[in-house]
């Protein structure tokens, strides 16, 4: 995609002459260097059990505390340091062999909140301060021009990490519903008499640009590179993949995989989720590789919290603290980052995190997007990318 093509939607200046002066101050902010760096966020909703994802096979405490839930993956799932991939993630094991996979273990934040609602707020805002409601991506050094669309969220109609008036993203349950909703939106440009209406106009234009992208690019229906799992997650990921392979290189895309709140009968539910995750990501890799974009994307999973170390009496696990994050991409530095959290020294039954999730955000800002690290005072990047 050339620069002009990119600006056509990214700078949202369909009728340049009619853009109000408040918006016109810097409409063509150069983000060329950046538009090739795509972050794909995958929210594992409900609280993903890290110990069933990256598995300390054979660990005595693990076996003791998880009498029915301990997983014993085959040897070919071994990654490093006695840690194994969940066998249902076997579809992406080759990415480890290839050197394109990293894990961050023991990641969380101090005094972890056990409420889904509060803890995802903490992850979304990168702040444990309950007065802060703006998303971490609005602070991460993404382009801050009102004329730019920074991201598309598919599978969740909340703005999450993009929350706040500088979010510059659209969120949708799925593209079809979104397009139906946008039918009513005013499409005419106008001269805004004040900054409130200018903000509204720029928001309107963000929506229109996303709607136009979805209509034009998704309908072009590029070659199917790979088969995605037949689930909402698989379909949403496929939509995002098609947007990217058709040249829509926004800085961030986000999809959600739901169902991780495994209080009862965890094993089958979780394995199935891992199967969908692995299958989806393998298809995503194949599509990116075929489009020669694998080096331009960084995939990162996250979840509001991990789960209690000891299983409960319903063969499930309750809300916990630290968990693991998976990172994939052509420029990823293979490895398992962070010290394994102790299974004996626990905080009220929960893992004590060794890595703060804001270090991961800092890494994305500084080492992926090459922007300054807004959390630099306390959180330093890690070298996974």
């Amino acid at each position: 995609m050339n620069r002009r093509d990119f600006l056509k939607y990214a700078s949202l200046t369909p009728l340049a002459g009619m853009i109000p002066s408040v918006l016109a101050s810097n409409p063509n902010l150069s983000i060329n260097s950046q538009n090739k760096k795509i972050l794909l966020l995958i929210e594992l909703k409900g609280g993903n059990d890290g110990l069933s994802t990256l598995i300390p096979k054979g660990n005595k405490e693990y076996e003791k505390l998880r009498p029915t839930l301990a997983i014993r993956p085959p040897e070919n799932m071994h990654l490093d340091k006695g840690l194994y991939l969940n066998p249902y993630l076997k579809d992406i094991k080759y990415l480890w062999n290839k050197g394109d996979m990293a894990w961050i273990q023991g990641v969380g934040y101090p005094n972890s909140d056990r409420s889904h609602f509060h803890s995802i707020d903490v992850w979304n805002t990168a702040s444990t301060n309950s007065k802060d409601a703006s998303g971490w991506l609005t602070k991460s050094g993404l382009p801050n021009s009102p004329n730019i669309l920074n991201g598309i969220i598919v599978g969740d109609d909340r703005m999450g990490p993009f929350a706040g008036k500088n979010g510059r993203a659209v969120a949708m349950e799925n593209p079809r519903t979104f397009l139906r909703q946008t039918k009513y939106l005013n499409r005419d440009q106008y001269r805004a008499p004040n900054d409130s209406l200018a903000h509204l106009l720029s928001t309107q234009n963000q929506i229109i640009s996303a709607a136009d992208l979805l209509t034009s690019r998704l309908n072009q229906s590029p070659r199917r590179y790979a088969r995605f799992p037949n689930s909402a997650f698989g379909r949403n990921l496929e939509q995002v993949t098609r947007l990217i392979t058709s040249g829509v290189h926004l800085p961030v895309f986000k999809v959600t995989l739901e169902g991780f709140d495994t209080h009862a009968g965890q094993k089958d539910i979780h394995n199935n989720l891992m199967h969908h995750l692995g299958g989806g990501l393998a298809a995503f890799h194949k599509a990116m590789a075929a489009a020669r974009l694998w080096d331009n994307v960084l995939v990162m999973t996250y979840s509001e919290f991990g789960r209690r170390v000891a299983e409960n009496s319903s063969q499930g696990t309750d809300h916990g603290s630290a968990s693991v994050q998976l990172v994939l991409g052509g420029r990823v530095n293979k490895g398992i980052y962070g010290k394994a959290p102790s299974l004996t020294h626990l905080d009220d039954g929960d893992l004590i995190p060794n890595i703060d999730f804001r270090q991961v955000y800092a890494t994305i800002s500084q080492r992926w997007w090459r922007r300054s690290n807004p959390w630099s005072k306390r959180y330093h990047p890690i070298t996974f990318v």
Partner: protein, 430 residues
């Protein structure tokens, strides 16, 4: 003397009431500013709305004390009743004959926030809301002193956990940061700790759901707060805060943000308002009268420059125009989709308001809703008949805060004009 035209009347009403009902707005036309403001600030008697049908407190309490299962059942019951409470509030907002008082109630709810999400007991939030409604135009010092003893607040900011030897600073911190002085204004962490100690022992009697002072949990150690020594209780802390000149300025700044503009307040103006506020012994009516009579409030610069809140947009439109009323349950849901979930503010700071009401998500919901309300239906003839019998120009002055930015219909028809004005982006402003 300057007399209000229809557009001036709309400006005043749309900022301090809920929507702009035709008769009420039209009645202010030709009045002086002072007369119009006085009419709005001295409404007929404020009625206490009939309570929502909540399970009696004692029954719920007995249920939750019984065992773990009872506790879960009681919580579920309360969660269902939280929705009833939201619907109750929607109904008040829609039907109240004292909309200025309702708006001020919401203003204080957004100042002294509490949320159902944290408090859990709908009774306590209902009680708090009634208290705020009753005092919305009264004395700020009374509001402040009483809110410190309000059961919902004591749960919301953990005051009920603040006991001797185990001080919980949550309430003390927000009292300074959010209720009186504002962040970064002349207080230290030591002041917060001192205040927390003074408030120890203030809690809730859970059997009755009322304020309860437990002397055995009160730390009587004298503390120094903001330079005042020998303080031994929470009332004294509040007295010090009410004497502090910053408190009135902080409230004046919030009033600016709510009623004048999203922009940074002009300090000369807010200082003047603050002086009036303090000199009137914190009379909210005196403050509002000063604000609404000020040149600043009427300045062309600030006309139509604020984004309508979800309540302005949804409730205001339904109070203003004769569209079919949606059920309260649906309205409460729409308000939450628009970012103003009643009794559940997003943070302890309340709703940020202003431009943050509009993001890609809420803008879509706003436009879908207005389209739904104004689309052609069989009731059209009825709605048309209910519209005021007046000229097109007056309809524009009545509904549009600034000149519409999209072309108006060229075909005649009042309903067509109303629809165009409502779907014009400027309708999102007030």
């Amino acid at each position: 003397m300057y007399r209000l035209n229809l557009s001036d009347a709309r400006h005043l009403v749309s900022r301090v009431a809920l929507g702009q009902e035709w008769t009420g707005t039209k009645a202010l036309e030709g009045k002086s500013r002072a007369e119009a403001v006085s009419i709005l600030l001295h409404p007929e008697k404020v009625r206490t709305p009939a309570p929502p049908k909540l399970t009696p407190w004692t029954k719920l309490n007995r249920m939750s004390l019984k065992n773990g299962n009872g506790k879960r059942k009681a919580r579920k019951q309360m969660m269902r009743e939280n929705d009833l409470l939201k619907q109750w509030m929607v109904k008040n907002l829609l039907t109240s004959r004292t909309p200025v008082n309702e708006r001020m109630t919401m203003f204080w709810h957004n100042h002294f926030t509490s949320s159902l999400e944290k408090v859990e007991y709908p009774h306590l939030i209902h009680q708090q809301s009634l208290f705020l409604r009753k005092n919305a135009m009264g004395s700020f010092s009374h509001l402040l002193k009483s809110i410190a003893k309000d059961p919902a607040m004591l749960v919301y900011l953990d005051g009920s956990k603040n006991v001797k030897g185990k001080a919980n600073e949550n309430f003390a911190r927000e009292l300074l940061e959010l209720f009186t002085l504002g962040r970064g204004h002349n207080y230290t962490e030591a002041d917060i700790r001192a205040a927390a100690i003074a408030f120890t022992g203030w809690g809730v009697n859970m059997d009755k759901g009322t304020f309860h002072y437990d002397a055995s949990k009160h730390d009587n150690t004298p503390v120094t707060f903001l330079g005042t020594p020998n303080i031994t209780n929470g009332d004294q802390i509040i007295d010090v805060l009410l004497k502090h000149p910053r408190t009135a300025v902080y409230i004046a700044e919030k009033v600016w943000k709510e009623f004048v503009s999203d922009s940074y307040p002009d300090p000369r103006v807010t200082r003047r308002w603050a002086n009036v506020f303090r000199n009137s012994n914190y009379s909210i009516k005196a403050l509002m009268s000063e604000v609404l009579n000020s040149e600043t409030f009427w300045s062309k610069r600030y006309r139509g420059n604020m984004i309508k809140s979800p309540i302005d947009l949804v409730i205001g439109t339904l109070r203003t125009l004769p569209f079919a009323k949606l059920p309260s349950k649906e309205l409460a849901h729409i308000l939450s989709l628009l970012g103003q979930d009643l009794f559940d503010p997003p943070t302890v700071k309340g709703w940020d308001g202003g431009k943050s009401w509009i993001d890609t998500q809420t803008l879509l919901v706003r436009t879908s809703l207005l389209n739904k309300l104004t689309r052609h239906t069989r009731a059209q003839a009825y709605i048309s008949k209910k519209l005021p019998n007046t000229t097109g120009k007056e309809v524009v002055d009545w509904l549009s805060p600034v000149t519409p930015v999209l072309p108006l219909p060229t075909h005649p028809g009042k309903l067509r004009l109303v629809r165009a004005l409502i779907l014009d982006p400027t309708y999102q402003l007030k």
